[in-house]
Point group: C2
Chain length 366, copies 2
């Protein structure tokens, strides 16, 4: 497959998402030209042990003539903290990186979010590149410039909008992902289809076997399609004043699940999968989509090995409090992203509180 | 005195600096209209115990109908850390502040820098106001949108450019400042004159007695003049790509002094005063200003009760290393802001290393 490029167009900048299969997982292709264009004399490669063991050497060999330092962060969402961020900054200072350095995030969402945020605040901002190695990072966190760490009291509460200079994708790396990580990425992909494009939903249902078989061509088409949906929404609303909130379909419920389960207990994508079903359920209770539609969503998520219900009960009052702390909450009251139809999401503030209670009772009492 | 306003004009935004003597220190004036314009239903007032005891009640009474929470931070530069920042974020989350809240910094540079940075990164950015209560904060840190905290390995290494919605000044509060704090602010004011306006330098020399007597009219004129110099430079170069670096006159030396003395041992303004003399000394060694000019600068700084030399020796090699970590350092080598003439500073990278060594020997060996 030849290299393909999707551009993210923003008011003040634009940057490419490059699709170059096997440049990182194999040696049949190269991104040396793109790296040379965006990296100066020095760079800090941020990754974790597992990923750097798989792809570190290859990436280093693509960065010819650059002084590259390496900073490893411990794996898992529980480490997405200010304390770990401070260590990245410490490495940058110790190795005397100036404002001209480039940070390179090689890894999944945790690596990407932390590297991006470190780049946003080191000396008040340095450039960075995303090299996402999980499906979730490829279709979601690496595109759009949202960077963050967690606070003990809330997920992604501390962060910045900081756009990467480029995103370099290799769908071939997905074959080495643990199945649970791959499934977590599929949750965001189903979400993209549900919120923006019913024909994409039909395509996912039709191609589900090839997706599960990791067919290179189908995976490439899928990742590109999801990146295009996300890019288009981000392009219209970089700072999440309006339309970008649609990408949070399933996330207000999902974040509450993550908060109450403790970070790291369930994967973000798994929480989003359950949250998406909850949003679909509430949409159906309003009569906007049918029970059959909800069942279709549940079946598709299950096909991709995702949970569609909780494995243990959660306290409703605590859950509601956790929802209120979500960034989608507004001074004016809770807003939820719901489905007006399959493929058409909307931010809704005048939902029926009674129906929300029914949804919470159904899903939280296992 | 009637209210006066200076506007900071930036490519994407503009905001007012209001001069309203006695609105905070007395009750003869009010900024209620401005506060009402910029603060919505909720606000977090960030301050320290000393300042809130003096002006907290007055500011609260000016914020009619707003749910105001209070967060106090411990005093001193040593607390300008990510750990203290995390506590501000914790209060915001606990009190359920949304993206619509406004942070209000009531205090000096530490409060302003930390509040501004908290506003920059809480939920990826919320608005904030500056109510600076020290001379240093009024003429320097509250204007221009630089926010930051320190890292154990370097000062202001972690931060963001985040502009306030408005800056509300009251020069009457300066009368309650400890003399050492007032002097520290004068260092930045002398710096403004040196780098941009020799007639302002002459004015400062002429008015030095009235300044020391805290004459309201003279103080107002001085703070406005310094804010105008700073605003004009920031307007041309918000993100410090070029001309804004001139504001760092005396700061590369000054930061190294602060780093080696340990944060909190000497005030920022005191370190800048010594650093300014060092920059002037090095400029004179290049023949750009005269020895008499350096002596004039030294005398003026002494008149304002500022140190012009170190009280104990510092290690030259450690000092050079600390200078190299300053943000003015570039991959291409050290750059210094030096004086081509009184009132005209320049960023210089081709200074004579031998002359720099002479300056270091003269000042670091006490």
């Amino acid at each position: 497959m030849a290299r393909e490029t999707t551009w993210v167009e923003l008011p003040e900048t634009r940057y490419p998402i490059l699709f170059e299969a096997n440049w990182l997982a194999g040696t049949s292709a190269s991104c040396r030209d793109v790296l040379a264009e965006h990296v100066g004399k020095t760079a800090l490669l941020v990754s974790n042990q597992t990923v750097v063991d798989l792809y570190g050497d290859r990436l280093m060999s693509e960065l010819e003539g650059v002084k590259v330092d390496l900073h490893l962060i411990p794996e898992g969402e529980a480490n997405k903290t200010l304390a770990e961020l401070e260590k990245i900054i410490g490495t940058l200072i110790k190795q005397q990186h100036t404002r001209e350095t480039t940070l390179i995030a090689l890894g999944g969402g945790v690596v990407g979010d932390m590297t991006g945020f470190a780049a946003a605040i080191y000396q008040r901002g340095v450039p960075f590149l995303q090299v996402p190695t999980t499906l979730l990072a490829q279709v979601d966190s690496s595109v759009g410039g949202k960077t963050a760490v967690n606070h003990a009291l809330g997920k992604n509460m501390i962060g910045a909008f900081h756009q990467p200079r480029a995103v370099l994708m290799d769908v071939a790396v997905l074959k080495s992902l643990p199945p649970r990580e791959f499934a977590a990425g599929m949750a965001e992909i189903v979400k993209h289809a549900l919120l923006a494009d019913v024909s994409y939903l039909d395509w996912l249902i039709k191609k589900q076997d090839l997706i599960l078989q990791m067919d290179d061509v189908v995976l490439s088409e899928m990742v590109r399609k999801s990146c295009e949906i996300k890019s288009a929404i981000v392009a219209e609303d970089e700072k999440e004043q309006g339309r970008r909130a649609l990408l949070n379909l399933g996330h207000t419920f999902g974040h509450a699940i993550e908060t109450l389960s403790g970070y790291g207990q369930c994967l973000h994508g798994e929480a989003v999968a359950i949250g998406t079903v909850m949003a679909a359920d509430l949409s159906a209770r309003h009569g906007w989509i049918s029970e059959a539609d909800v069942e279709r969503i549940v079946q598709l998520l299950r096909t991709f090995n995702l949970p569609t219900e909780l494995s243990e009960s959660l306290d409703i009052a605590a859950f509601q409090a956790a929802m209120g702390r979500d960034k989608k909450a507004r001074a004016s009251g809770l807003r939820l992203v719901l489905l007006r139809a399959l493929g058409r999401a909307e931010v809704v503030s005048d939902f029926d509180e009674r129906l929300l209670s029914e949804t919470l009772v159904r899903f939280l009492k296992v």
